[in-house]
């Protein structure tokens, strides 16, 4: 019997293996993934499509990783059922893998709303290397010239950039009134939108796609889309990038509690003892909102996996929490957005902003009782980490508030006591 069984071998699974091995060098680990080579960087699938990275470069851990960590990796096989009473995971091949401690790190799957014509040849989602390979092959096979990307979130913008680099004319269709609406306020979104448009991308907001139509003379292949307000956009490809939803099918019908994702405590344990969940599939703690929720982000999946791994191996650790935190590189305009970056009107919040239109620099901090609870930085992000430290440690910034958005803000602006605590001076 394997002591530790992990389903899913991406960020959360890798984090767990590393943490377990940090404290338990010998306990047997079995890790299962339905992807044949799962240890790649999912955010890099856009670099694969653009041709910037091949699959070797995309591996965030090399092929020796499973051997080096002495983990038995069952790859290319799907886990199909959990038997909690028996403490075993069933695989599609019929095998049963018994466990003492189980981690569900099954991540997310693309959310695809019902659209007429969505089964036409040339419609893709964008979350796996397989998607990326298929898109790249399709572009070559049909000499694709244009694409419609449905959804202007992080994933939508990343695939848009990749397609532009491949020379396609891209139209992004977004239901909200602006791009990157979960991350950015109106001003920041407008600055980024401007840059994206200058790269030749058409952006349609406040609408979605109601129907995907076929090509003249080849009804089975994508020829264009009809928007909800009736407009038509001809295209060779449609990429649906609306978002990801937790891949919870394994726990359906079991006692394991789910909300939108799997519910976990601060040790990343589910309501069923010895069963843990981490990453995109789990609802983990948001230290800004003070509640558990879905936060499908790579660094958080990695940390949550580590916390689960330590606890599974008997080394008690609690998860300090994450928050909505993204850094974007797309279209050459760096952006960082963390926490309550775009809050609704709220008298208890104080908002500081600075905008330099010429340099395309925009900075915004959201404070509550002199503690940073949100930030957006556009085109000036080098001090993001210092601000994030203040946010995470709930440092009262009253005494140096006016410095925070200055170009020369840095560690020297912090109180000596804090500099000492951070060990930057003696």
């Amino acid at each position: 019997m394997a002591k530790y069984v992990i389903v899913g071998a991406s960020a959360a699974g890798i984090g767990a293996v590393e943490a377990i091995r940090d404290v338990d060098p010998v306990g047997s680990i079995t890790i299962i993934s339905d992807e044949p080579c799962p240890q790649y960087s999912r955010p890099m699938i856009s670099d694969f499509v653009s041709g910037k990275a091949d699959f070797t470069k995309m591996k965030c851990r090399d092929d020796e990783f499973w051997k080096q960590t002495n983990a038995e990796a069952i790859l290319g096989k799907k886990a199909t059922a959990l038997n909690l009473a028996e403490k075993a995971v069933s695989l599609e091949s019929g095998e049963k893998v018994p466990y003492e401690k189980l981690l569900l790190a099954t991540g997310g799957k693309p959310f695809v709303p019902k659209m007429d014509g969505q089964d036409k040849d040339g419609v893709f989602t964008f979350t796996t290397i397989k998607d990326a390979v298929q898109i790249a092959e399709k572009i070559d096979a049909i000499s694709a010239k244009s694409a419609v990307v449905v959804g202007a979130g992080l994933i939508g913008i990343s695939v848009t950039e990749a397609l532009v680099k491949r020379g396609l004319k891209v139209t992004v269709v977004e239901l909200q009134d602006k791009i990157l609406s979960l991350l950015l306020d109106a001003k920041a979104s407008e600055i980024v939108e401007d840059v994206v448009k200058k790269a030749g991308v058409d952006i349609v907001t406040g609408q979605s796609v109601q129907k995907i139509v076929g090509k003249d003379g080849n009804e089975g292949a994508v020829g264009g889309v009809i928007l909800t307000k009736g407009g038509q956009v001809p295209c060779d490809l449609v990429i649906v990038a609306i978002g990801v939803i937790p891949r919870t099918e394994l726990v359906a019908g079991t006692q394991i509690k789910t909300n939108r994702g799997i519910v976990v405590d601060s040790n990343m344990q589910t309501n069923v003892p010895d069963v843990y969940a981490s990453g995109d599939v789990a609802e983990a703690y948001d230290f800004i909102l003070s509640q558990n929720r879905l936060l499908p982000l790579w660094p958080l999946a990695m940390i949550e996996g580590q916390v689960a791994g330590y606890n599974m191996a008997g080394y008690k650790t609690t998860y300090a929490g994450g928050t909505n935190m993204s850094s974007l590189k797309y279209f050459g305009i760096p952006v960082v957005s963390i926490g309550l970056a775009n809050p609704k009107e709220d008298a208890t919040l104080e908002v500081l902003t600075k905008h330099d239109a010429e340099r395309k620099v925009y900075k915004k901090l959201v404070l509550r009782s002199n503690v940073i609870v949100g930030m957006t930085l556009v085109n000036s992000i080098e001090r993001a980490g210092v601000l994030f430290y203040l946010m995470k440690n709930k440092v009262n910034v009253k005494k140096f508030k006016q410095k925070l958005l200055e170009d020369d803000f840095g560690l020297a602006c912090l109180p000596l006591s804090l500099q000492r605590k951070m060990c930057v001076v003696q």
């Binding site: 955010p43 890099m44 995309m58 965030c60 790579w298 660094p299 430290y389 560690l411 930057v424």
Partner: protein, 147 residues
């Protein structure tokens, strides 16, 4: 491991550490070429933090539990368990800036031309990091400290 420690009271904020760091990380190792003609432009991995009258130099702390290593999307940032050093592999870096978002010290720099990040590597191969060796006031010391 040996780390670079800043002595705030000795720092004059002259910025020579940045100059020598830039040169040490240039291809030519020549100050004129490094600053005038080399492409991609070499950049300093040490920053003099100034808030008059305070100044001190800061570079990667090679943290024990390095947030940049955990956050790195591509596997470019790793912790060398033997030396304790946090190392950055430029070839694997995709310039996603995630490490910059989580570094409490603001010690990771953007190499905008190269579209990657750059940070202190303790000047591998030199006896002493260039910033330490060339500080005119000995405001930077390289010594063994507990992690």
């Amino acid at each position: 491991m040996k780390r670079i420690i800043a002595k705030q009271e000795a720092c004059m904020g002259c910025g020579l550490c940045e100059v020598y760091c830039t040169v040490a990380h240039s291809k030519s190792k020549d100050i004129i070429k490094a600053y005038n003609s080399e492409r991609p432009k070499p950049i300093s991995r040490v920053t003099v933090e100034r808030n008059k009258p305070v100044s001190f130099a800061i570079q990667c702390r090679h943290c024990q539990d390095a947030p940049c290593v955990t956050a790195c999307l591509s596997g470019a940032m790793t912790k060398d368990e033997k030396t304790g050093q946090v190392t950055h592999n430029k070839e694997k870096c995709i310039g996603c800036w995630t490490c910059i978002m989580v570094c409490p010290y603001g010690a990771i720099k953007m190499d905008k031309e190269g579209k990657v990040v750059a940070k202190c590597d303790l000047c591998q191969g030199l006896e002493e990091p260039a910033c330490v060796a060339n500080c005119p006031n000995q405001a930077l010391v390289f010594k063994e400290v507990k992690p």
